[in-house]
Symmetry: C2
Subunit: 342 residues, 2 copies
């Protein structure tokens, strides 16, 4: 017994209504999440406490009845487990020692620290044991390009300058970093799948900041290696790519990686995407999260636009990026009811 | 006698090498610019001092021999001239009194303050009188959507949340604001053309943050009105649109606005853009400004990619966004030499 995402990702026909979940659905917009995070003391404590991570993963399932749960974790667990320790300062976003200060690649561990990632796999086992069988569980990791932007700069929010400069000035070093992340991502996703996730999503939040040649080199090529590497260990592993801002490259990406699903942000042109995709990847998205803050008729209209735009397509309804902390819970309820026609 | 941009925008054949200029070419990466800005005391003083604005506009022409000059000014001159006074705090970006605090639209002036925009037109006259006749002069304004994001939020850098929320919750009010900006932009561009600019560019920096339906409503429709309004007063006015992040909409935008040129940021897929454009608009762009910081072989390769990608096309070589202050001047020289094959 499995759920609707698995059915679609395994090649099933379009579903009407489409299954629905939300990126960052276990998060700060929920009072019950904030209570558990306060109990944990910090974001990282929460990520590395299997019981609490399982609890917050389950919260939006219990409250809203989403069709999928997604493991509560962070894309920076991988650099953390490679020895580039990550701190999350309140209101500041993540902070890492930038790679150059750390002593370059040689300072990283050869393998993911088992004590760190072991907590993640344990959380997966706990969640899968608790989750109803018809609710699919997604694991995830950050894509090499996006994770590298944090590792090189030591932080986010700088227009990815540091990573782009390293890629331009020290291309061999940057390629080595990407390769290290490819290898680590393969192991990390394989172990999540073995622990019980039904599919994995690879988040490439900063993919859309690259020119087309760089997109092929730093987004598509590493992704193709990850997909091949994961499926060498877990045949038919279900993989969703989310290269935010990269929908114009869907044809090339799907052709070269054979992912099962493709996440769209809200700026994607549905007609162009559908023509280029030719029904190959399940499409996931793509409501503007700010519309979900706004609510009202504008929200209803935006939801209807997504449903119309992807009518007859193998669609997983989602936001085009993570839900924001200031989003009213009633708007989430309104969205789910409208998608499901209830 | 006119220059190469005019030749292309008036329907001329592709030029090899293509004409070249840079967005924000009069700016902080130049020591002679910093000297004049220090003399002026502030960024706004510089914008509203015709002699100094003309001087900094000329600086990159004298130093690099670009094929076009662009009026030194700022897209927030329009809200300033409508009575929503703008302050530029060092290192902070622009600050305006948010529209709601200001007392909504009724607090704005009906017409652009002549004392304010008069300084801009005077700068245009001074520049055109100084500039060699074969160097084209560009005027500009911000597009209504992008200017509105600053007017509503009172600042930039917030993912355009405030403007999107107003558009969703108070659609009539937001539409009125956009209409006011359309009307003001028409007058502002017409007067710049009458003062001597050879073409105008409309900067829509935040166009790429909109979903396709919103892009049609807040980017394409206002732009179509501006183009029609300007050409009603100045027939055959040459107009370049730069909807950053909106290249996937080039077919619709060019069809509905009849602009002469279309600016591309570096993420645009050249093959898709060329197919969709069908040779109608002159294409302008699209080197990643961070590559220009990097320099070296990566810069050479990226320049060659742009030239190859748009080979045989009516191209104006440019960056995909403004040059950054930390860019070494030698990299600009290297870029120009490579584009020109000298």
């Amino acid at each position: 017994l499995a759920g609707k995402l698995v059915a679609l990702l395994d090649g099933g026909a379009p579903l009407s209504p489409p299954p629905v979940w939300m990126m960052r659905q276990a998060g700060r917009y929920l009072p019950e999440y904030r209570a558990v995070r306060d109990q944990a003391g910090s974001f990282l404590n929460l990520c590395f406490n299997p019981e609490l991570a399982a609890e917050v993963t389950m919260q939006p399932i219990r409250r809203f009845g989403f069709d999928a749960a997604i493991l509560f974790s962070d894309i920076l667990v991988v650099p953390h487990a490679l020895g580039q320790f990550v701190a999350f300062e309140a209101g500041e976003g993540p902070r890492l020692t930038p790679l150059h200060e750390l002593g370059r690649l040689s300072a990283l561990r050869d393998e993911l620290h088992a004590d760190v990632v072991g907590k993640v796999y344990e959380a997966v086992r706990l969640i899968r044991a608790t989750l109803p069988p018809d609710v699919d569980l997604l694991g995830f990791c950050g894509a090499p390009w996006t994770v590298a932007t944090y590792m090189v700069a030591g932080r986010g929010g700088d227009d990815q300058i540091a990573a782009k400069l390293m890629a331009a000035r020290e291309p061999d070093m940057f390629a080595s970093l990407i390769d290290r992340l490819v290898d680590a991502s393969i192991i990390y996703l394989v172990e999540q799948l073995r622990a019980g996730v039904d599919a994995v999503q690879i988040f490439d939040t900063w993919a859309g900041t690259l020119d087309p040649a760089s997109f092929e080199r730093w987004v598509i090529a590493p992704l193709a290696k990850i997909v091949a590497g994961v499926r060498a260990k877990v045949p038919n592993a279900r993989i969703i790519a989310f290269p935010k801002g990269g929908a114009q490259h869907i044809d090339k990406l799907v052709s070269q990686t054979a992912v099962n699903g493709f996440g769209l942000d809200w700026t994607a042109d549905s007609k162009q995407v559908r023509v280029a995709n030719r029904g190959r990847a399940v499409l996931q998205g793509n409501l503007d999260p700010i519309t979900l803050i706004a609510g009202g008729k504008a929200l209803d209209q935006a939801i209807d636009n997504v449903l119309d735009n992807f009518s007859g397509e193998r669609l997983i309804f989602n936001l085009g990026h993570g839900i924001r902390p200031e989003t009213p819970i009633e708007h989430v309820e309104r969205m789910i009811a409208r998608v499901r026609g209830t």
